[in-house]
Symmetry: C2
Subunit: 408 residues, 2 copies
């Protein structure tokens, strides 16, 4: 293994040791002991590279190389430092260690940049300890509402605010932007899907993040004896569920990529072999990069669901509890990344992200784009989450070349 | 309310007081305290009517009116005395109290019969305390295998044999038939379905009990991120399940009554909104009165399931764990019942039973048939289980007239 690749492996092992769990994964939740340790260790590492490093009020960590211009323009990179419970070694933290290595390589090859280059280790994105997501990125812009976290607790009943105080952090004093000098943001992340792998490509240049709508749907029919109730007298909710799934997925496939439609959860009652199910609750998750397509499609499915229920004399309740618009990335920044790939002979693909990322909070406020590297078998949020070291290196090289273009 | 109807209500309340539970239902499980109490109370009641009453080794209770022929031919009726957990006031015990009242009315109207008339309060049918069904009826013929119950326990870890001994009962000494003198058996039971109610008919004359096949089916696909996995790269088990259900039910409806097909249980993993499900387990229950139709249909569905799985690159495991043949009732006895209805101007319908009953164990060994009365809304195995008193009376009158025809 070359020195460059070995360095990637070493820093990956190093950062993964903070919060490594008994199940071979990393469990590093917001404001936990290992979370505080890793942020402090990163601060030290950033300083050793010659960065000015500091925390903001809530615990986002910033490391900045001051550019030779001595100006007020900064190019930033980074991602979130928290993980899911029993997560892998790349989600989130790749954006931090990859950003660190890209800057280190730039400094070694080209010395100081003209503009400032900053790396941000965001406090939180996953929502895996407390029921709140994007705490880190929202606090960059003062858009995290205090009220939303004041009364929430983790699974052990520890309050959000207590945990925050325990680590020495507190709410922001006002709603000001913490990074008014940042003129561009580039986030390196694993794909968490299998498109790059299936197509044999090393780098994804992200043009946008999907919008998504999520639903809870309840069906109320009639629980009946499976032997004594003739088919014509049934109000079978499983039958209605199955019809909805079959017809909706058929329609989704007709619309084609990048539309994805998932019925991930289904609970029926009484859920026993010899009773026709009388109640069901299921979820639907639909995503697309185009808001209009997303809305039109899901509204068609809502109608289809109502009709399927009515045909079987089953009552239906459709609750659309998440409705997030797609977020386009900045075309100038994606061009910079694309050119960086071309110049360095890195095979790439323009694609969208089907998952949410910190960049979706940052992109509406600062020109932003993302770089993806392949996830082996598409696995993430799991100790088996992995990417070939060669691909990690190509992602870091792409980020390095992009930062060079933007800051040198 | 007439005296006859009042008597039905009174004896129904009386028997339901044994094992009445806090939830408004009856929970009278095999070899429990209330089970022993009711069997002892019934013995006394039978004796008070002039019957010779006795228990067999395992706890079936017999009450016999000796006929004037003093011969060795007996006409029997009865059903099971156990209930499901939180059951209603009619399933099983209607066959006992209805049989008792029919015999009482016969004795009052016509004096002693020529042949013996016997009522049997069978120990168990539901399998609701221990994982074993038809313990009562199988022991009539020495076909309950000791080995099948020796090591089974109830939910509290109490062994079947210990519970049996506790009540003063034990295994049969040999495999002999306990009722060699019984020449005909008629069982009165609630329908537990809604066919009679939907068609506005008071009595069902049962021509046969359905055969049934039950399956556990496992699907193994691939759990994937709901946002990042394009539709074409998915191995979505819910999609396969839905296709199987939709197509199978469509086929079942084409075959028509009395075929019933139920997908009562479905469990998917990880069962969360934003993950494409990678594993599923579901059940299929299929019933028909004709063995050939049942076998041909279910084997077609097995093929359909395999094909649906294969199309989506999902692995499938099909386990057919129950395969019971249909049991026809004796046509002579059904004719007797039919004629009884006609003579007494009772509206009736020849129909099958979609549920299992003690009669399916008895019918292959002794000429047997069943009488159904309507279940309000088809509800059973539930405290809301009910039948209009007028309909209960018509069922009892039908049984009375049938026993008269057979024994007088």
């Amino acid at each position: 293994m070359s020195e460059l690749l070995q360095e990637i492996e070493d820093i990956r092992s190093w950062i993964s040791s903070f919060g490594s769990d008994d199940l071979g994964g990393v469990s590093r939740l917001l404001y936990s002991e290992s979370w505080l340790e890793v942020q402090k260790a990163l601060k030290k590492k950033f300083e050793e590279l010659g960065m000015e490093a500091s925390f903001d009020e809530i615990g986002n960590l910033y490391g900045k190389i001051i550019g030779t211009d001595n100006g007020n323009e900064t190019i930033a990179t980074g991602s979130h430092v928290d993980t899911v419970v029993n997560g892998g070694q790349l989600d989130g933290q790749l954006g931090i260690i990859g950003g660190y290595l890209a800057i280190k390589r730039l400094l070694e090859a080209h010395g100081k940049p003209k503009k400032n280059i900053e790396i941000i280790s965001l406090a939180e994105e996953e929502g895996s300890r407390f029921p709140y997501v994007f705490w880190g990125s929202k606090n960059l812009f003062g858009i995290a509402d205090k009220k939303d976290v004041e009364n929430i607790e983790d699974a052990n009943g520890i309050g959000f605010v207590d945990a925050m105080h325990q680590c020495g952090f507190d709410f922001k004093k006002d709603n000001s932007c913490s990074i008014p000098d940042v003129k561009a943001f580039v986030e390196l992340h694993i794909e968490q899907g299998n498109t790059l792998e299936m197509e044999g490509i090393s780098v994804g240049v992200i043009s946008g993040i999907v919008g998504q709508r999520r639903y809870n749907i309840k069906l109320k029919g009639e629980a009946n004896h499976a032997g004594t109730t003739l088919m014509k007298y049934r109000k079978d909710v499983t039958q209605v569920f199955a019809k909805i799934v079959t017809e909706s997925i058929e329609k989704a496939k007709k619309v084609g990529d990048p539309l994805v439609l998932t019925f991930g959860k289904i609970l029926v009652k009484p859920n026993t072999v010899n009773v026709v199910p009388g109640d069901a609750m299921f979820t639907m998750d639909c995503r697309h990069t185009d808001k209009e397509v997303l809305c039109k499609f899901t509204e068609e499915i809502e109608e289809l669901m109502k009709q399927a229920a009515e045909e079987s004399s089953v009552e239906i309740e459709i609750d659309r509890w998440m409705d997030e618009d797609p977020v386009p990335m900045d075309s100038n920044i994606t061009s910079v990344i694309e050119n960086a790939c071309k110049k360095n002979n890195i095979d790439y693909k323009i694609m969208h992200s089907g998952a949410g990322h910190d960049s979706q909070i940052i992109a509406p406020r600062i020109p932003t784009a993302m770089i993806f590297v392949p996830s082996i078998k598409g696995i993430s949020h799991n100790p088996a989450e992995d990417t070939k070291t060669e691909d990690l290196n190509k992602g870091i090289e792409t980020l390095k070349a992009s930062l060079y273009e933007l800051a040198y």
